[in-house]
């Protein structure tokens, strides 16, 4: 009921927008719907923080589709939602970034109704992605995000918006296809033992025992798309090609399916060399869409990798951990190097995102509980930091139209409020203690150093990313904020106007979350609970 609300409220807002006349009213609906979502999402987060984490919280499980496909067997698809340690913090992140992004959209004039409608569809599908526990539902929302995102970039974007939108679309689609292949392959091996037990009139545990003993004929199989079921080896029939064997080499099919899921989500994260859609999408997207893109959409890549990749294929993840960690470190260092070489502020932030998402992958690759906590922490932290930085970049772009760093100098003396938030954002991005990024990187590195799978030298190499991170962050501070007060005279004189009250409020809320997560890490770590440990990490 409660989790469904997170999906339904934006859709309800969509209905309201449909019947509203032209004018400025849709933006109140947008703000109202996302605001209500933010409120409910925060409440759910705080309840799940104190709740019992041995089972799924706020679980909703209804049969959705049941198909008898003859030779293909019976397939059940359920409407399964729930909160556990993996998604609790990300739900909090998503509702707030969506809300603040909606607030930042206040000044949108062009085709307002269409904008609001698409934004609400996006909100609903983003929330669906984070709360869904059934693969079909997850994938539906995952795919559905593409549609509003394509139009939001392609209509309200910058100069080369159509190119960026098409690029984003194609990249994500390729990733989706791989994920879909992975999901379908998993479905052929995972059974809905719960439903089988009901049909056979026994308990689920008996069914699982019989299944493992080979006593159940394949005609009685009910295949399932349920993601928590995928994590339990007892739901796999022993003869299936993805059966997780204990203490022996994994079946080769498991490698292929894991690889498909991995690559699919790595595109979304994105990890070098599959990242080139990100800078163009960010540069062309409008400010609120950049915030949502960097703040949430990238996180779905990391989250999906945990939900569908790491917790389902821990054996393969162990085997490939060294390579994945190397990939992560390459992404960290490559992103930081390229960020250091940028002259355009938004591109710089985009590449710093790539570098920071590399840390997420490093945390995952460590296959330790603390590394996983770090990965989620980093996603939460980077969600707010990148949203803050993109928001500030957008505020400047709105005033002058230019984000070329060489057009500005000494902004601290011209726009002190703006400069304060930019400086705070970059201090947070370089991992200064008291900001959330520090805790995240600390946890990830603790995981990487304690890990049995990540070689020490790879973890130490990632330090180069921290040094370079300091370099590019402070370079922006030194070049743009400090120095002689100056702006390129060709730019609009509006560049001398500091943040408005609305912008100030949004930026303060973002910074508040960053500081809160940096000073009081229990805010998030308590929400992880035992869930992460339960995966045998």
């Amino acid at each position: 009921m409660w989790l469904s609300l997170l999906i339904l409220i934006p859709l309800l807002g969509l209905l309201v927008v449909a019947i509203l006349p032209r004018g400025n009213t849709p933006r109140y609906v947008l703000l109202g719907a996302t605001g209500l979502n933010a409120f409910i999402g925060s409440l759910l987060f705080f309840y799940s923080r104190i709740g019992d984490k041995t089972e799924l919280l706020f679980e909703e499980n209804y049969d959705w589709l049941f198909m008898e496909l003859g030779g293909l067997g019976k397939i059940s698809v359920s409407y399964h939602l729930g909160i556990d340690g993996l998604n609790a913090a990300l739900i909090l992140l998503a509702v707030w970034i969506l809300f603040l992004g909606a607030w930042a959209s206040w000044s949108v004039r062009k085709k307002l109704r269409a904008y609001v409608a698409l934004y609400l569809i996006l909100s609903a599908s983003v929330m669906g992605c984070f709360v869904a526990l059934d693969f079909i539902l997850f994938f539906l929302c995952f795919e559905f995000m593409l549609l509003p995102m394509y139009f939001l970039i392609g209509i309200w974007g910058g100069r080369r918006r159509e190119y960026a939108a098409v690029k984003f679309f194609i990249y994500t689609l390729v990733g989706s296809v791989l994920i879909l292949i992975g999901g379908i392959a998993l479905q052929r091996s995972v059974l809905n033992t719960n439903r089988m037990a009901i049909e056979a009139g026994t308990t689920q545990i008996e069914v699982q025992e019989d299944l493992q003993a080979g006593k159940i004929s394949s005609s009685a199989y009910i295949y399932s798309f349920d993601m928590p079921s995928m994590q339990n080896p007892n739901n796999y029939p022993p003869e299936s090609s993805l059966y997780p064997q204990q203490n022996s080499t994994p079946k080769p099919m498991r490698y292929w399916v894991f690889a498909a899921i991995l690559v699919g989500f790595l595109i979304k994260m994105p990890i070098v060399p599959l990242h080139t859609w990100l800078p163009s999408a960010h540069v062309e997207a409008s400010t609120p869409i950049s915030m949502v893109l960097a703040g949430i959409l990238l996180k779905i890549g990391g989250y999906g990798l945990m939900r569908l990749g790491y917790t389902v294929f821990p054996d393969i993840a162990c085997e490939l951990a060294t390579w994945i960690s190397a990939l992560a470190v390459v992404a960290i260092i490559y992103g930081a190097f390229v960020a250091l070489g940028q002259t355009h502020l938004k591109r710089l932030i985009a590449y710093s995102s790539i570098s920071h998402m590399g840390f997420v992958l490093l945390g995952l690759a460590s296959l330790t509980q603390v590394g996983f906590e770090g990965a989620i922490y980093q996603m939460f932290s980077h969600g707010f930091i990148s949203a803050l930085l993109f928001f500030m970049a957008g505020a400047l772009q709105k005033r002058t139209g230019s984000l070329v760093m060489a057009d500005y100098s000494g902004m601290a003396m011209q726009l002190p409020r703006w400069s304060f938030f930019v400086a705070a954002g970059f201090f947070a991005a370089l991992g200064l203690p008291m900001f959330s990024g520090f805790i995240a990187e600390l946890l990830i590195f603790m995981g990487a150093f304690a890990s049995d799978y990540v070689p020490l030298w790879i973890a130490i190499t990632a330090f180069a990313g921290l040094i370079l991170g300091g370099a590019y962050a402070m370079r922006v501070v030194a070049l743009m904020l400090l120095g002689k007060p100056w702006q390129n005279p060709k730019l609009s004189p509006q560049g001398k106007i500091d943040l408005s009250r609305r912008e100030l409020t949004i930026a303060s809320i973002l910074l508040l979350f960053i500081l809160l997560a940096g000073i009081y890490p229990k805010l998030l770590t308590e929400s992880f609970g035992q869930t992460l440990g339960a995966f045998g990490l």
Binding site: K167, I170, P273, T276, P279, S280, Y334, F337, V338, L340, G341, Q342, V370, E373, G410, A412, M413, F427, L432, P433, M434, F438, I439, L442, L443, F445, M446, F449, A450, A459, I460, F463, L466, I467, L468, G470, A471, M474, R475, A478, L481, L482, G483, K484, P485, P521, K522, T525, F528
Partner: protein, 632 residues
């Protein structure tokens, strides 16, 4: 906005009072204050506040208070000068945090903030591109050092599962292999923060900061954070690392002193001197005498801050830092001259002043170590003696060039009248001068052994006559140095050595900064021009394939099907023709034959149906007979 400045000074005096109270409490209670705060599920933050931290807290607060009073005078004519007080307060907060920290993580928290404060304060004059560039440089040197600290934290956590120093102390008694990496990381970090030889160039660069900032951060307190962390983590240092410390410290002590000796920029001379004195502290650490390093850290805080502040008063009034343009300033600044002399003599090691105590102690420890261990230790002792001599020379040179001699014949200084300092400025300098005397540290003031500070940290036992010998050596060096200075045997012209540390930095720029920039530039080009376009090209290639397929479809399939259809139509026409003329013709000709035959059968029109029946019956019988007999 001056209200803010005054409020912050008031707050600092309050903090000074609190730190005094804390110090008295801790000293009378004779026990450390500890507390734990569960920060992360796997890590807690610990505080540990013992006599050593309490004493240093008081010293830091006192110097900060004094520097803030000074800043009130220094920044009085500037608009928006209150910003410097905010940063200084932030810095003081970070120092407090450092001194309360009881585990590596809390130390690192404070450590990082010290770096940021340093950046903000060096870039205080933010409209000057020079300040900003130097601030960036200072930050990057520190950032690289921070990686060592992070390495230590992560190795300690991975190996022992805790970062609490008191727990680590018991866990590392067995000296496991990882200790080298933990301690090594800390030595790396500390040598960056404390500007040891590899990292030394950042300290002169930081001299673009306002003088009070240089006095507080880059002389008295922040740069000694490295030494402080090593003191706290001394048990993590293996013998190999102590050797590294000695080597680093010895070279640094001479490196910085040489730089100072040839320097003409008054503040950079003092920066070189700070580098050298920090090297001296590292020498003490390496010689197994953390107590001596701690002692020198505290005495150095007072006299070095005082030196900076005195030079600051003069430079502000004279409008230059170039010592060649100064001279004979004792007349215009008599009080500053006296206070400066106290600080300089203290650093040079004149008895009854604080510097002599700590310097003797360190030399004595070096001497003992040389006797006990021999070998390299003699070289370390040599480093110590040479740097002590250079100390006397460079500070005597500054005293002589700035205050003694004739008034230089340059415009701004000639017109200087005797300067009457405001009372709070005098107070600020006097506080530091009192701290530069031996009486506040030790009783009897001639021997460092009377100091209650020494038992706070462990130290190897001194051999019998070391202290006496080192006192004699120190006095001898003082005498030689003073003689040379009074004979004017010191550089008055510009020498290459005056740019020693700048040259070192240029080397780093060539070795590291440029390659990094080249790599980042070429990777950026690669990313946008090759990788991005390459992937676009792959997409475009697929698009081209799609177009090609369409063309193929158009050309072959579409046209083929049309040809097929057309040929089918043609075929149909042909078939129709055949149908009409050949098949129909056959049928028609058949019909024609039958029609021609029929008159043969029915010649008569009156023939009855019975005749036909009989005829067909007859034919059938004939047929049957033919079949039967034919078959048979």
């Amino acid at each position: 906005m001056r209200g803010i400045a005054e409020a912050i000074i008031a707050l600092t005096s309050l903090l000074l009072g609190i730190s005094l109270w804390f110090m008295l409490e801790v000293w009378t209670a004779d026990a450390a204050w500890i507390s734990v705060y569960a920060f992360l599920p796997s890590l807690s933050l610990h505080s540990y506040f013992d006599k050593a931290s309490a004493t240093m807290l008081f010293v830091v607060s006192l110097v900060s208070f004094s520097v803030m009073l000074y800043t009130y005078w220094y920044a009085s004519q500037r608009a928006k000068a209150y910003r410097i007080f905010i940063y200084l307060l932030l810095f003081l907060g970070a120092m407090w945090a450092l001194l309360w920290a009881g585990d590596l993580l809390s130390l690192f928290f404070a450590w990082e903030w010290l770096g940021i404060c340093s950046f903000l304060l060096v870039a205080f004059e933010r409209h000057k591109s020079q300040s900003v560039a130097m601030a960036l440089r200072v930050f990057l040197y520190n950032r690289i050092g921070d990686m060592g600290f992070l390495l230590a934290i992560l190795m300690a956590y991975a190996e022992f599962g805790t970062l609490h120093l008191e727990t680590l102390r018991t866990l590392t008694l067995a000296q496991p292999w990882s200790l080298f990496w933990i301690g090594g990381g800390l030595v790396f970090a500390a040598s960056a923060k404390s500007a040891q030889v590899l990292f030394a160039p950042w300290l002169p660069s930081a001299m673009v900061a306002p003088t009070p900032v240089s006095a507080l951060l880059h002389a008295a307190t922040m740069v000694t954070a490295g030494v402080y962390v090593l003191l706290r983590c001394y048990f993590l240092l293996t013998p190999d690392l102590l050797f590294v410390l000695s080597l680093l410290g010895g070279i640094t002590a001479i490196w910085g002193a040489l730089y100072a000796f040839f320097q003409f920029h008054a503040k950079k001379l003092l920066a070189g001197s700070t580098v050298s004195q920090l090297g001296f502290m590292f020498l003490a650490l390496g010689a197994g005498a953390p107590s001596a390093a701690y002692f020198h850290l505290l005495t150095h805080a007072f006299f070095k801050a005082l030196l900076f502040l005195c030079i600051g008063v003069i430079a502000k009034k004279a409008g230059t830092y170039d010592m060649r343009k100064m001279g004979g300033l004792r007349k215009a600044f008599p009080l500053v001259f006296i206070l400066y002399s106290i600080a300089a003599a203290s650093m040079a090691g004149l008895p009854l002043l604080s510097g002599s105590l700590s310097k003797e102690l360190i030399l004595a420890h070096l001497h003992t170590q040389a006797f006990v261990q021999g070998g390299w230790s003699w070289i370390f002792l040599g480093f110590g003696i040479i740097s002590a001599l250079l100390t006397v020379l460079y500070i005597g040179r500054q005293l002589s060039m700035v205050f003694l001699g004739e008034v230089a014949h340059t415009a701004p200084l000639l017109s200087l009248k005797k300067y009457n300092m405001p009372f709070y400025l005098t107070l600020s300098l006097l506080l530091l001068a009192i701290g530069s005397t031996a009486f506040v540290f030790s009783y009897p003031p001639l021997s460092p052994l009377g100091s209650p500070l020494l038992p706070l940290f462990s130290a190897r036992a001194l051999s019998n006559s070391s202290l006496e010998i080192s006192l004699l050596v120190a006095l001898g060096l003082l005498a030689i140095g003073s003689f040379l200075i009074f004979k004017d045997y010191y550089p008055r012209r510009s020498y290459r050595l005056a740019y020693l540390l700048e040259a070192q930095h240029s080397l780093y720029v060539w070795l590291f900064v440029r390659p990094v920039l080249i790599v980042s530039g070429s990777l950026s080009t690669f990313d946008s021009d090759y990788l991005d376009r390459g992937i676009d090209a792959v997409a475009l290639f697929h698009l081209r394939i799609a177009k090609w397929v369409r063309k193929v479809e158009e050309r072959i399939f579409y046209r083929g099907i049309r040809i097929l259809g057309e040929s089918a139509v043609v075929l149909g026409f042909i078939l129709a023709w055949i149908d009409r003329y050949i098949i129909d013709g056959i049928i028609h000709s058949g019909l024609w034959i039958v029609r021609q035959c029929s008159p043969l059968i029915h010649s008569d029109k009156n023939t009855h149906i019975q005749y036909y029946l009989a005829l067909s019956l007859l034919l059938a019988i004939l047929g049957l007979i033919a079949i039967v007999f034919g078959v048979g």
